[in-house]
């Protein structure tokens, strides 16, 4: 079960996220849960291994938007970086960031259970 405390301890900026959700805790938590199921989490690594930077950018951008809205800082960091590099379609090693991103997601997911 995902709680505010767990989120906080995970490193989320719950205040920021809550503000965006008009301080509706129920909604916020629901949305966080929803976010964890986002398809972009699969699409991003797929696109990267297929070297489809366009698709990767879309996916990363998508994740960035949501993460920012919900104040999910630990995910926002890496996905933000990736988005910027992908925006320029820069060929580089996205592994570290992707890894981090997925790790954080997994961590949060496990907290939600």
């Amino acid at each position: 079960m995902l709680t505010m405390e767990k989120l906080k301890s995970w490193g989320a900026d719950v205040d920021d996220g809550m503000k965006r959700c008009l301080n509706n805790e129920a909604m916020y938590l629901r949305l966080v849960n929803k976010f964890l199921q986002a398809a972009s989490f699969e699409r991003l690594p797929e696109a990267l291994s297929a070297h489809d930077l366009e698709a990767a950018f879309q996916a990363a951008h998508d994740l960035k938007g949501s993460a920012a809205n919900l104040g999910l800082t630990p995910i926002l960091g890496p996905v933000s970086r990736m988005t910027e590099q992908l925006r320029a379609r820069r060929e580089m090693d996205y592994e570290p960031d992707l890894e981090k991103l997925l790790r954080e997601r997994d961590a949060l997911k496990s907290l939600a259970e």
Binding site: D15, D16, K19, R20, C21, L22, N24, M27, L31, K34, F35, A38, Q58, H61, D62, K64, G65, S66, A68, N69, L70, G77, P78, S80, R81, E84, R87, A88, R90, E91, M92, D93, P96, K100
Partner: protein, 883 residues
């Protein structure tokens, strides 16, 4: 010009001189001519006058001799016969009748018998008379005197008996000379001419009143200065003339010192026929002079005028000529200078062409070198890829082998791609296609991102990294974030490449007021490393494309030499400067200075309560800047440079009862580490005080360790003021304070129907919820195409506004907007479309406006701003709807 002027002036003066000379010459000439003319006139005039007198004289003579004839006849008819007494009587009567002064008979012996009047006392020219009578001359005129008066004697041969028994040979018929003079008009005071009558010996018969001398000779000798001859010669000439009965002319000066006279005169002498008299006509120039002078003057004047007019005309002509010449000269000058500058230009052009050619050749050469260098750089990883692929294929079952090959392929691939990116950038620059897109940029964000990017690599290299920020006057600036990142990453990657393990890499950012004005801030960025540095000569050509230091060390490392050229281009385009300081073996410092335009931010008052905060960092710089920022935020900061000191201070403060509100401890400290310090503090004071760890490194690695030591949070460097504010704010749990600060006035947007185009379902949900909370009706579209269709299918004026996300699959926000605007319905052009952009520099604001959007908001959406924007744009639609 001066020389010309002098020539002109000289010429004018010369002309003036010539004119004057000519004038005076002519004047003199005319003078002389006038003299001559005057004399000529005088002579002619005198001649005429004399002629007149001569005629008169003849006339008088004629009359007189007629009278004498009548007297003779009378005598003959009187019958006096030979009786002298009767003769005398008759003659006497006749004489009385004729009113003579005297009538006398004269004999050959000279005996005179007076028949009437006073007797003749003396004769004027006795010898002449006698001779003439003896010679039988019919008419003889001479003069004589009675006791009383001077007379003119008309003598004629006359034979008559005289009382003394002689027979007369002549009759003397006399009239007073004054009468003669009168008739002759000899002493007319109005006349210009005056006359002398002189005898053969130049003694005067008639003379002017003023004459003192007895005879003319004396006069001449005394007063006359003849022209051209001496007085004596003049007299001789006169005598000659008299003797030969010819005309005498002479021009003289009459001088009388006693009367102060010096007049010019002309003298004309002519004999009176049948007499021993000579008539001198004299005309003084005086009168003539005046007239002539007047004439002369008017002549001179007219000449002067003529000369001046001529002169003026000449001047005018001259002036015009000068002007023409000058104009021609300036035109010539112009033409000459044009020609000169043209030739100069041609010369310069030639030189420029030469230089360009040399440049082009040099560039070609450099490109050639680059290509050959690059081909090696391309081939090596390509070979590796091919080789590794082959090996992997051959050992497909050996997972470890394959994994290793794939890793190497991946590395080579990345290398190649880095190369390709650089080349593409370079070619973009060279063809002028790379332009900057400045957009509002958060320096804080940029620095954080950069740090995140480089930290892993630095850690892998075993290098030390630190970041310093100082004196940040403006966090938000207009800048092309992408390119700024490129610059910093380039410096940092060079630093990482050329710094050995254990070396330091420091990234610094500081600001100062900009000379460009209030709206700008001079921003300094510096990347310093303790790597291998570079030589002086290489530093000079550091930014030349395709150049890399040619030595063994550098060749060992990878690179195209393009990166810095690109960086230089970017910095130049931003209007900034790059300075490089480097020493071989000691390290390098890249320093970029650029004036950036401040983004006018709504300065949210970043204020914290006056908490006592302790900052622990081994860098005095950081302590100072952090302390400054903290003070500006309103807190009471204290600093110390080591963990030991920190422990002491904390315990001390706690003892005093004024404990610190929060502790900010750097991870890396000399001596006791940050974590250790925290643990010790926790041990002593428990968990009351929030301890935050500040570090340039990644939290993730040290999170566990830190948490175990009692550290409650992490603040990543760089420590911008806003970073500190945000992090510390969390401590007070007053995150809502900001929300409470928002304007009381809540925009009323109730009743609006919004079309929301957003592909991210979470974002869509949040946005919908916000809008629904405010009383709007929201309909969602997952991408641009669906949004377009929904709008097209809707009734007129159904939607009051459209919120359009820009990044969507199938049809993005820009396209969708353009298509909506193109629809043939009234509300298609009017419906407000608000763009939602995720990042400041994602899309060009211009593109949005061009597509037909009315406004754009940044994501994550600020609720209040959204409401305000809708309220601003939508009421129009509502007004239409209600009407």
């Amino acid at each position: 010009m001066k020389k010309e002027l002098r020539i002109i002036v000289g010429g004018l003066l010369l002309m003036l001189v010539i004119a004057s000379a000519v004038f005076f010459g002519l004047y003199r000439f005319l003078d002389v001519r006038t003299e001559k003319d005057v004399r000529e006139i005088a002579r002619v005039f005198l001649g005429e006058i004399a002629g007149q007198e001569s005629s008169r004289y003849e006339a008088i003579k004629a009359i007189r001799y007629t009278q004498i004839d009548s007297m003779h006849k009378e005598l003959e008819t009187s019958g006096a016969g030979n009786d002298p007494a009767k003769v005398k009587n008759v003659l006497g009567h006749s004489a009385a009748f004729q009113d003579l002064a005297n009538c006398t008979l004269i004999s050959a012996s000279g005996h005179m018998q007076t028949c009437y009047g006073d007797p003749i006392a003396r004769l004027g020219g006795e010898s002449y008379l006698m001779e003439s009578l003896a010679s039988g001359q019919k008419q003889i005129v001479t003069g004589g005197w009675t006791e009383k008066e001077q007379m003119i004697i008309f003598a004629a041969p006359f034979a008559a008996p005289m009382e003394n028994g002689e027979t007369s040979i002549g009759l003397l018929w006399c009239k007073p000379i004054s009468l003669f003079a009168q008739v002759m008009n000899l002493s007319n005071p109005d006349s210009m001419v005056y006359f002398f009558i002189i005898r053969r010996d130049t003694s005067y018969v008639i003379h002017t009143e003023e004459t003192v001398e007895d005879n003319y000779d004396e006069l001449v000798r005394k007063h006359v200065i003849p022209e051209g001859v001496t007085p004596e010669e003049c007299i001789e000439l006169l005598h000659n003339a008299i003797a030969t009965d010819s005309v005498f002319t002479m021009h003289t000066h009459f001088v009388d010192d006693s009367q102060n006279l010096n007049v010019r005169r002309s003298v004309h002498g002519m004999p009176l026929k049948d007499s021993n008299w000579y008539l001198l006509s004299i005309i003084p120039y005086g009168a003539l002079d005046e007239t002539i002078a007047e004439m002369g003057h008017s002549r001179s004047l007219s000449m002067l005028v003529a000369v001046f007019v001529l002169f003026a005309a000449l001047l005018a002509v001259f002036g015009v000529y000068i002007r023409i010449v000058r104009r021609q000269m300036t035109q010539l000058e112009k033409a000459r200078s044009v020609a000169e500058s043209a030739s100069l230009e041609a010369h310069q052009a030639q030189e420029a062409a030469e230089a360009a050619r040399a440049e082009a050749e040099a560039a070609n050469r450099a490109k050639g070198e680059f290509l050959s260098n690059m081909s090696h750089d391309i081939r090596t990883p390509m070979n590796a890829i091919v080789g590794m692929t082959a090996i992997a294929r051959d050992h497909i079952g050996d997972q470890d082998r394959v994994r290793d090959c794939l890793k190497k392929i991946s590395l080579s691939g990345k290398q190649l791609l880095g190369l390709v990116n650089d080349i593409l950038d370079m070619s973009k620059i060279e063809s002028g296609k790379m332009t900057l897109n400045p957009e509002p940029l958060s320096l804080r964000q940029t620095m954080e991102t950069i740090c995140d990017i480089v930290r892993p690599q630095i850690k892998a290299n075993g290098q030390l990294f630190d970041i310093f920020i100082r004196n940040i006057l403006a966090e938000e600036v207009y800048c092309d974030g992408l390119r700024l990142n490129q610059v910093l990453l380039n410096f940092l990657s060079n630093a990482m490449k050329f710094t050995p393990e254990g070396g330091r890499i420091d990234l610094s950012l500081w600001q100062e007021p900009s000379p460009k004005g209030e709206g700008f801030v001079r921003t300094h960025l510096s990347v310093r490393d303790t790597g291998m540095g570079m030589s002086e000569e290489f530093r000079a050509k550091l930014f030349t494309a395709f150049e890399r230091e040619d030595n063994l060390r550098v060749r060992k490392t990878q690179g195209t030499g393009l990166g810095l050229a690109i960086v230089k281009y970017i910095v130049d385009a931003m209007g900034g400067t790059i300075e490089v300081a480097s020493q071989v073996g000691e390290g390098t410092d890249f320093h970029v200075t650029v004036d950036l335009e401040k983004v006018p931010t709504d300065p949210q008052e970043m204020v914290l309560p006056d908490w006592k905060i302790l900052v622990v960092d081994d860098s005095p710089d950081l302590c100072e800047t952090a302390s400054l920022s903290l003070r500006e935020l309103g807190t009471r900061p204290e600093t110390c440079l080591s963990g030991e000191e920190a422990l002491e201070k904390v315990l001390e403060a706690d003892r005093k009862g004024e404990g610190y509100f929060a502790l900010l401890i750097d991870y890396r400290l000399g001596g006791m580490s940050g974590v250790e310090t925290a643990r010790r503090i926790r041990d002593r004071l428990g968990s009351r005080v929030p301890i935050r760890l500040i570090s340039a490194y990644d939290w993730a690695d040290i999170a566990e360790e830190a948490a175990a030591a009692g550290i409650t949070g992490f603040i990543p460097k760089p420590l911008f003021k806003s970073t500190l504010y945000r992090e510390l704010k969390k401590l007070s749990g007053e995150a809502e304070a900001r929300a409470a600060d928002s304007p009381e006035r809540t925009e009323n947007i109730a009743g609006l129907r919004i079309l929301l185009a957003e592909d991210n379902d979470i974002n869509a949900e949040i946005a919908s919820m916000i809008l629904e909370e405010s009383g709007c009706a929201v309909e969602c579209a997952e991408d641009g195409k669906i949004a377009l269709d929904m709008f097209a299918a809707s009734p007129q004026g159904y939607f009051d506004a459209i919120l359009m996300d820009l990044r969507m699959p199938h049809m993005n926000g820009i396209e969708a907007t353009e298509n909506i605007r193109k629809l043939h319905r009234a509300d298609a052009a009017r419906v407000p479309i608000i763009a939602m952009t995720a990042d400041a520099f994602e899309e060009d604001a211009r593109k949005c406006l061009a597509a037909g959007m009315n406004a754009h908001l940044a994501k994550p959406i600020d609720i209040e701003l959204l409401k305000k924007t809708l309220a601003r744009l939508a009421p129009r639609a509502r007004a239409v709807k209600s009407s």
